[in-house]
Symmetry: D2
Subunit: 154 residues, 4 copies
């Protein structure tokens, strides 16, 4: 990706309500002119990618395995890694900022790596109370805070 | 390592009080006949390694960079990786169980990876309230819980 | 990438004559409807990317470091890795087939990884005599052989 | 490892004649006071490890997978990585010098990585004719050349 990029992290499977928020999140990211990076699989990753594509955005999916057909259908560029859980680091490293939407322990590891790498991290739901994380009440506030951060970062 | 192994994770620099607890932790691990794996650098990693060596234990240090001279002097086997923060995953993957002693965001990422990988994680201090983590009040209780887990795990 | 993809490997700096062949190679790849993956830096990687873009193709660059600005200007999607030399494996893993154009020891390591992974490898120049590699006299023959292989592979 | 270390690379399965040379190679490495690093599996790796242990040496095995029980029985310290073929890089990175004994494409990739990383590489058999590689007629000459190199390197 060459424009500003946001990593979206969250669970690989999720209930419809989280999926709906993820899709809205993806749409808002694309409408803000930002590219979306994610882990390329299902759940929050797929819903956010679907939202981004619906708004004409660009999506990059960084996969844990070596078969690019594992990517969800809304990924423009699927990158295979064979790194398993370590690919979480690449999802983070390829974003100029990070939004976590709910999520479990994989998401937690990504938040830790992001904070350790000095990234700006906004969380909606599950991990929004962690020290160092900027909380947001929903996709709208999350993207607003990301845009504000990126415009300040130049 | 060929025996049972405990990953010790925590900050790369720490106040004397944390260092004292880390050294006691390392000593208890070695006295329990367990090998110690860590990130090989300073702070909690160094103090725990010093404790383990003082009790005749074995230590494996998995380094982020490519120069093995970066290992603290209490590491028997230093392994260089060039993986940067991604080496955190190898620290976790090489333990049969994990003890976190205080620590910041790097430690948080390791806890997330450990839980995601299905590892048993005991935490003293900072991260002991995370869901999925077994809390301990200090090194003694932490090692007791690890020994109990490993004996049940066969 | 979602279409068929060719990894182009070769030296990070090269004389004008090699650069001209690399550019022709990139152009032929794009004209064949194939996406190009490379290491994203200079030399053969940059010239091939320039050729691909001149013919309206798509380019993915997998970088050794963590700064996407290191990508050459003809990369559509730059992926940072922080993996150093290990990123060579990702360059190979992301291609459905591989073309090596001249190159030194980095290229040699990529050819070894590609053959080990069961990839079809065509080499022009330097490494065309290695066992398991399909030799080609120049970009035209290399792309012809790749197209023939990919159409047989279904 | 803390002493000087030699990476031994070669095929994961090999005929008895190659195995015998690998064992002799491991023995000579240990008798020279050097530690042995390898990929931890069978074939040349196992035979060289057996030779090193028979002579009282130390062995480090860096495994492609996540199960340390995959290590051959002559490995003192088994390190799991989950890196697949990428673990080849760690085998190379952890040696102060490299000896290749026969071997196929995996070995070729390791030689390429070693030369790219500026390592001193001695090869017996298969790859001894590659540019940049120091050829040796057998284990004795290989270890002599390594010792000479390491003593010059200080």
């Amino acid at each position: 990706m060459k424009g500003k990029t946001v990593s979206v992290i969250g669970a690989g499977s999720c209930p419809p309500e989280v999926s709906a928020r993820a899709e809205r999140l993806g749409r808002l990211i694309a409408e803000s002119g930002l590219d979306l990076v994610c882990g390329g699989l299902g759940g929050v990753m797929e819903a956010a990618s679907r939202g981004a594509k619906a708004a004409g955005g660009r999506t990059l999916g960084i996969l844990p395995g070596l078969d690019k057909r594992a990517a969800n259908p809304f990924i423009d560029s699927a990158v295979v890694t064979g790194l398993g859980h370590m690919r979480n680091f690449l999802v983070i490293a390829n974003g100029d900022a990070v939004i976590a939407l709910e999520g479990g322990n994989g998401t937690l590891s990504e938040i830790g790596l992001a904070l350790k790498s000095g990234k700006f991290v906004v969380a909606v739901g599950a991990w929004s109370g962690l020290p160092g994380v900027t909380p947001a009440t929903g996709p709208e506030e999350a993207v607003d805070k990301i845009k504000q951060f990126l415009s300040n970062a130049g």
